[in-house]
Symmetry: C2
Subunit: 499 residues, 2 copies
Amino acid sequence: MNTLVDAGFSPRREGFAPQPLIEALLSILPAHCVLHREEDTRPYECDGLSLYRALPAVVALPEDEAQVRAIMQLCKRMNVPIVARGAGTGLSGGAMPHAQGVLLGLSKLNRIKRIDPAGGTAVVEPGVRNLAISEAAAPYGLYYAPDPSSQIACSIGGNVAENSGGVHCLKYGLTVHNVLRVRVVTIDGEIVELGSEAPDAPGLDLLSVFVGSEGMLGVVTEITVKLIPSPACAQVVMASFASVEAAGNAVTQIIAAGLIPAGLEMMDRQAVHMVEPFVQAGYDLQAQAILLCEADGTPQEVAHEVAMMEAVFKRAGATSLQVSGSEAERLRFWAGRKNAFPAAGRVSPDYYCMDGTIPRRHLARVLGAIEQMEDDFGLRCANVFHAGDGNLHPLILFDSNKPDEVERAEKFGAAILELCVQVGGTVTGEHGVGMEKINQMCVQFSRDELDAFLAVKRAFDPPGLLNPEKVIPTLARCAEYGKMHVHAGEMRFPDLARF
Amino acid sequence: MNTLVDAGFSPRREGFAPQPLIEALLSILPAHCVLHREEDTRPYECDGLSLYRALPAVVALPEDEAQVRAIMQLCKRMNVPIVARGAGTGLSGGAMPHAQGVLLGLSKLNRIKRIDPAGGTAVVEPGVRNLAISEAAAPYGLYYAPDPSSQIACSIGGNVAENSGGVHCLKYGLTVHNVLRVRVVTIDGEIVELGSEAPDAPGLDLLSVFVGSEGMLGVVTEITVKLIPSPACAQVVMASFASVEAAGNAVTQIIAAGLIPAGLEMMDRQAVHMVEPFVQAGYDLQAQAILLCEADGTPQEVAHEVAMMEAVFKRAGATSLQVSGSEAERLRFWAGRKNAFPAAGRVSPDYYCMDGTIPRRHLARVLGAIEQMEDDFGLRCANVFHAGDGNLHPLILFDSNKPDEVERAEKFGAAILELCVQVGGTVTGEHGVGMEKINQMCVQFSRDELDAFLAVKRAFDPPGLLNPEKVIPTLARCAEYGKMHVHAGEMRFPDLARF
């Protein structure tokens, strides 16, 4: 249901002959681990952001760390780009192949090596699915907290690359807060271990810089994650509001009351009307905005928190309030939120899911501005998002059969992200920069800041072979994009100053 | 009360003449911001680790960011080392001056620039004292959570450099989890802002790598910290155990029960007997180990958590249990823990406070090994520490008037840290590496891992002028130290394998 437009990125260099590379890979890998015929490499041409596509020169599917090392050493020797890929569910084109490069698929490194229930840790390979970790930990009453929407399919290696989030991240943190150690193969084929099972590793915190580095610094071959006790119970409070502003203020008041909900999500009227006919979750069609606020823990904790949540929402002017009375009802309340993307597919031929983040206090203002942009760009936009984190996911609805709508959707998306920067937020909350937001990085950061990123990138990858041309824009690209760095919280764009 | 031994580190290079440097600094700073007479620079010769001392060539005390930039540019031009210093309360020699360098004191950058109660943030300069932030936030019902023992005196800039912890870090995180953004002057005099008020900044997470980088990457001039609501109440459960092992297992069971105490501290028998005569906290002198376990939050939450804590401790074999019945009693229970260092000073001429971290499950085993080392090294050691984090603070008691005791204390300390590495822990929990633990870094990390640190250091500071000769050991230093890297959790030292 995503758009299927070939952006023509990274075309094959004229005269590029993949054969020597394929032969070299076949000399270090079993034949079944090297894919090079077009029909075999086609499934790897894009990730979840199908707007950008490229066929890789060759796909390598190593079965163990030694093979990963050999691939890295080979590519360095032959000066060949490497793009690592987990399950390919990413939404920013981070795993889009390089036309002259190796697509390094990690799906065969899929063992859960160890679970330590007393220590609350699991040691897994990068190809293990996010949900499979929680399934393996369930017999011990434990689970892995970060839960991206794609958790059935996405891999923990991809989660590390993107620093993935999810509904539970407000309370339990992003991937970076739930990974204790990673084992990494560098571009030289060396092994380094970053982080530690103990809190605060000595020296520089290279674990945090590696998590979320989108495949630019090395390839992870082993990950030690934190497991936490599964909560005994959970309940969700669903509150309606007569305006987006009132709902935004209620979010601020929940946090100000010292509550840290297990999830705090908002849907605007457009989103509610999009999903309700699809899922029949019982959403209030009169509301301008709905909040879903979850408490988890022991029954006493949940009862206490739910009472506090209800009190805050009442004070904040909720027009209607419901508390889930059973696990079935709790799941029904969440069903609309979780099915927003498929629901968008029912009402629009295509949609473009954005991922900006803003300080919570600006929620109402930014949502108001997005509404105004719907007129400006002539496209509808539904908002379904992690309100507690200030992490917006505007869904821009369009039809890719009308070519100018693709362009308008892209411009609409860019305008939303640049507004996020203006109010002191960022151009991505949990989906990464990848291909998609590389131009907006020019707005987010000063040249000196981008140079600091580049210097660290070069420290790990001097030849620049790991996921090249993504995440960090060059000086030339920013000059071409023609928009300047906005200092957080400052308004420098006259054309957006009206919001 | 720390030892007063000059280790002779970093002696003045023969023929080094500080005059041109002093004159150059006087050309860019007011005269009262440049200290160069010996009696003026003497107070800066060491930080809280007085084992290592050096007089700096000159002390610069800038009054604003523009002066910091000018100093950095000057030092780069003149190829002069720079050591930044906050309040000088650090315990690993991180702020020890370089004899041919500038000691850059940040105490005059001490403004609280902004407090945003709705957003839960404060923007402060690096010289602001840790506790001053909470004092300024108190009228809004907010506070800054990380609370190192030195919080009355230590500066937030120093906390950022060391990634400082404290009693509350188990629940509320280290400095890195409570800092949202830093403004940094690079060695080139450029300004970069790292991090964001929104969760998860795009690009590489350079904020996390900067926090805890011990002055090696840049000089911070502005810090945006997170403020959280002050808990309505707090209670502490004090439990006695008949063995250190039983207390260690109780810690594991608290965490396994899904509790995250606001503090979870252990004192062994030696520590209890050291502090009780000094503070009369009412500690159980029969116990082999005492745990202090705090709950904070709303009265209902606290009551619920305290009941769970009591139940866990009973099941874990506590020989006695007390719950603080009033705020005065709560503070009295904590008084012994908080006064352990002064108490050590009463019973021993000198002490050496270590800072290793281990996976919690090895608490009993490591404490047993330390007890055995007391015989081996002929020195006593009291243990007072953040048990919930697995962060040990062994206090080695010695007398510096007996020269061989200094050497034995240092060797004892090194043996403890290397044992921490062997069981999968680290050589520092919250005090940093600095001068003190640079040799143990050779044990903690492989050469490839140290090279990754060096590469990132060089990315920020190509000429290597920022806090040189600290934190990251050279190949030559590791060769001289003669101990090899231990893979986490593996036992490779035959001489320590008996523990």
